[in-house]
């Protein structure tokens, strides 16, 4: 039922076409009644023969047909006129009933509602005059991404195949108007209706639960709008290659994403803390999570997710025992078969000595029960559970496992990272390649610079538009270094509470640039720091005088001078 070819026009034309017959009936009945009144003989008060004019006849039939009934005008009627009035009353009232009935039936008609829904959607999309993102699939991930993007001030257009979920967009408490189309996103026409080729569209997110559909959406978006970002979710590995081939900019596999993070948490605990604090959503303070132990782990359930987690854990040097139902263990060696709800099975898997357990069963009730049993058998065990249905969240919160995974949340968090801070996700990818000592040192540096404050990370581009001060100073031939930017100008701590994480320029990248790294026009710098540091950096970047003063203080080889920089001397307080 989606758009195909040229539409007959907006809903009003469909409505008029449907109402053709009732309108013609109404016109004919009125015409006959009016003409009849002009022909039927009457008498005026003086008893002279008199006939109604067209004007009076139309006036009389008008209030007659709508059952208002103002009486016999302009003179009391003759019997012949009363007879014709009776005929007119019945025929006009029936014509009206027929017309109104047809009107209501058309308004209720699914096809008509569909046309109105689509044209209203297209109109809203066409009116958007700010950057927007198309979200295909309004599941857990889609809803999370929609809400967060709207908080960021980015407009969202939703395409959802399921009518109930498409209606959730209206019910969900969103602060901006989100146009939602109930249609299959695999249809190229639907993507066009959603505005994929509009200049304001910045990204298409294929977040449906169906990998094949996501692949199609990515391909269609790629062909229809080659310039925009495409993010694609893959639940199965076999689809990822195809998605990469059709040019999906980012492919997210929730199982992989989570398993990687879990394995990292074991091998590189510092990196995990950095990761968590940099990707914390909407300014949640970084808590100190329990350290994830290595050693021996049990994985209950050997589905797609269980398999991925076991592989990553093994790669991280963890001994893994898989517990799976008979026939589901597949090629896994050393697997214990049986129901994980059976204490004997868990004991056989070594639950008493295990350091951690991953419970990823198809059914949430089963997952909860197994986790409770495992804790009973080993109170110190580190439990990681996978929750499959969002509505069970209160139960999982009550159980409070050390780590809980909801596939939708994992996907949502990844998508947001890509859209919000592309440089941050690149940095995290680079950081994964580094070893634990590197991460530990960075963590130490971050803690020294930022302390217990809530960290914020942002990208800064150095060009005439976003950093006019820097552009002016560089154009004058002065050399600027990273440290010059980070000198605070008020009288407190001479350094801003910020750490530069990644410097990207066309010729390459510098991971954790040091103080002496030069800043060039066009560079993009990723920083992590307090919101105060962010705003004072903003003022620095707009003030060439302050930057020149910083650069001048920084005599060659005199790094120590900076520590004594009084802050207020060369710069105005803002």
């Amino acid at each position: 039922m989606s758009a195909r070819g040229v539409r007959a026009g907006p809903g009003v034309f469909l409505l008029l076409r449907r109402l053709r017959a009732p309108l013609i009936v109404l016109l004919l009945v009125y015409a006959i009644a009016v003409i009849g009144f002009t022909l039927v003989p009457g008498r005026d008060p003086a008893g002279e023969p008199w006939k109604m004019g067209f004007f009076h006849a139309f006036y009389f039939v008008s209030f007659l047909g709508t059952t208002i009934g103002l009486g016999e005008i302009p003179y009391p009627f003759s019997d012949a006129q009363r007879l014709w009035a009776t005929v007119s009353i019945y025929s006009t009232v029936i014509a009206w009933l027929y017309g109104i009935g047809a009107l209501l039936a058309t308004l209720q008609d699914p096809l008509f509602r569909r046309v109105v829904h689509e044209s209203r959607f297209s109109r809203t999309v066409n009116r958007i005059r700010e950057p927007f993102v198309i979200v295909c699939g309004y599941g857990d991930a889609g809803a999370l991404v929609t809400r967060e993007l709207i908080e960021d001030g980015i407009r969202v257009v939703v395409v959802e195949k399921d009518a109930d979920r498409a209606q959730l967009v209206e019910v969900d408490d969103l602060t901006t108007n989100v146009p939602a189309l109930h249609a299959a996103a695999v249809d190229p026409d639907v993507l066009l209706q959603a505005g994929v080729n509009k200049p304001w569209c910045i990204a298409t997110l294929a977040l449906t639960g169906d990998d094949a559909a996501n692949l199609t959406v990515a391909l269609n978006a790629r062909l229809l709008a080659p310039g925009i970002e495409t993010v694609c979710v893959a639940h199965h590995h076999e689809h990822q290659a195809a998605m990469a081939r059709v040019g999906a900019g980012h492919i997210i596999n929730p199982g992989d994403s989570f398993a990687e993070r879990l394995a990292e948490a074991i091998t590189r605990p510092s990196l995990r803390i950095i990761y968590d604090s940099l990707t914390a959503q909407s300014m949640t303070p970084a808590s100190t999570p329990r350290r994830v132990p290595g050693g021996h782990w049990i994985v209950c359930g050997y589905g797609r997710f269980g398999r991925t987690v076991s592989r990553h854990l093994r790669e991280a040097g963890v001994a893994v025992t898989v517990v799976a139902d008979q026939g589901h263990a597949g090629d896994c060696e050393g697997a214990v078969t049986g129901s994980p709800l059976d204490a004997r099975v868990l004991r056989a898997a070594g639950v008493a000595q295990a350091d951690g357990i991953v419970v990823t069963l198809a059914d949430d009730t089963l997952t909860l029960a197994v986790t409770m049993l495992a804790r009973e058998l080993n109170p110190a065990i580190f439990s990681v559970v996978r929750q499959s249905e969002k509505r069970n969240t209160p139960l999982f919160e009550a159980l409070s496992p050390e780590m809980a995974i909801v596939a939708g949340d994992v996907v949502g968090a990844e998508v947001l990272r890509i859209i919000r801070a592309p440089q941050l996700s690149y940095f995290l990818r680079l950081a994964r390649r580094e070893a634990e000592p590197w991460a530990a040192e960075l963590l130490h540096r971050l803690q020294a610079a930022i302390g217990d404050n809530v960290p914020d990370s942002w990208s800064q581009r150095f060009d005439a538009r976003s950093a006019p001060g820097v552009a002016t100073v560089l154009a004058a031939g002065t050399t600027l270094r990273v440290a010059d930017l980070l000198l605070a100008r008020d009288n407190g701590d001479p350094w801003m509470q910020a750490v530069p994480l990644l410097l990207q320029r066309e010729s390459g990248k510098v991971l954790l640039p040091d103080d002496d790294e030069r800043i060039l026009i066009g560079d993009q710098l990723l920083l992590c720091g307090t919101p105060q540091a962010r705003s004072s950096l903003f003022w620095n970047l707009h003030d060439p005088d302050a930057l020149r003063a910083s650069a001048a203080r920084r005599a060659p080889g005199a790094t120590t001078v900076i520590g004594e920089y009084p802050g207020g001397a060369g710069a105005r307080n803002v």
């Binding site: 008029l16 013609i24 004919l28 009125y30 003409i35 002009t38 004019g53 067209f54 004007f55």
Partner: protein, 126 residues
């Protein structure tokens, strides 16, 4: 040949013929122009408009537009008639000319409608 097509062409041509019938005669003398003729011409013109709502042909929108023009002109003529005969007055030469010229305008629109209908029929099955 279908009943719907016949009815459609019938109504459009009838709208033109009634219109011509009303206009024919000395425009200065109202006795040449019958109010029943104007009333029926208006009703038929309105019916033609409603029937054109359903036309999906390429010329459909143009036909709907010309039909709406005819409606507007005829309604204006009927209104002038109503205003000029208010309280039993007789229509003088200026009123008569005004009514007839409005109806002539409607006639032009109806001629265009019929021409479009002929063009469409002629270009069918090419």
């Amino acid at each position: 040949m279908s009943l719907e097509k016949i009815l459609f062409a019938f109504v459009i041509v009838l709208a033109l013929t009634l219109n011509v019938g009303f206009v024919y005669g000395n425009p200065e003398i109202i006795a040449f122009h019958d109010p029943y003729d104007l009333c029926i011409a208006l009703v038929v013109s309105l019916i033609a408009t409603v029937m054109k709502f359903g036309e999906r042909s390429l010329l459909g929108s143009t036909m709907l537009a010309t039909s709406l023009v005819a409606d507007v002109q005829l309604i204006a003529a009927a209104l002038v008639w109503g205003l000029r005969t208010m309280n039993g007055e007789a229509i003088d030469a200026t009123g008569s000319v005004m009514i007839v010229s409005l109806a002539v305008g409607a006639m032009v629109a109806n001629v265009v409608s019929v021409v479009l209908l002929v063009i469409e029929t002629a270009s069918l099955r090419r």
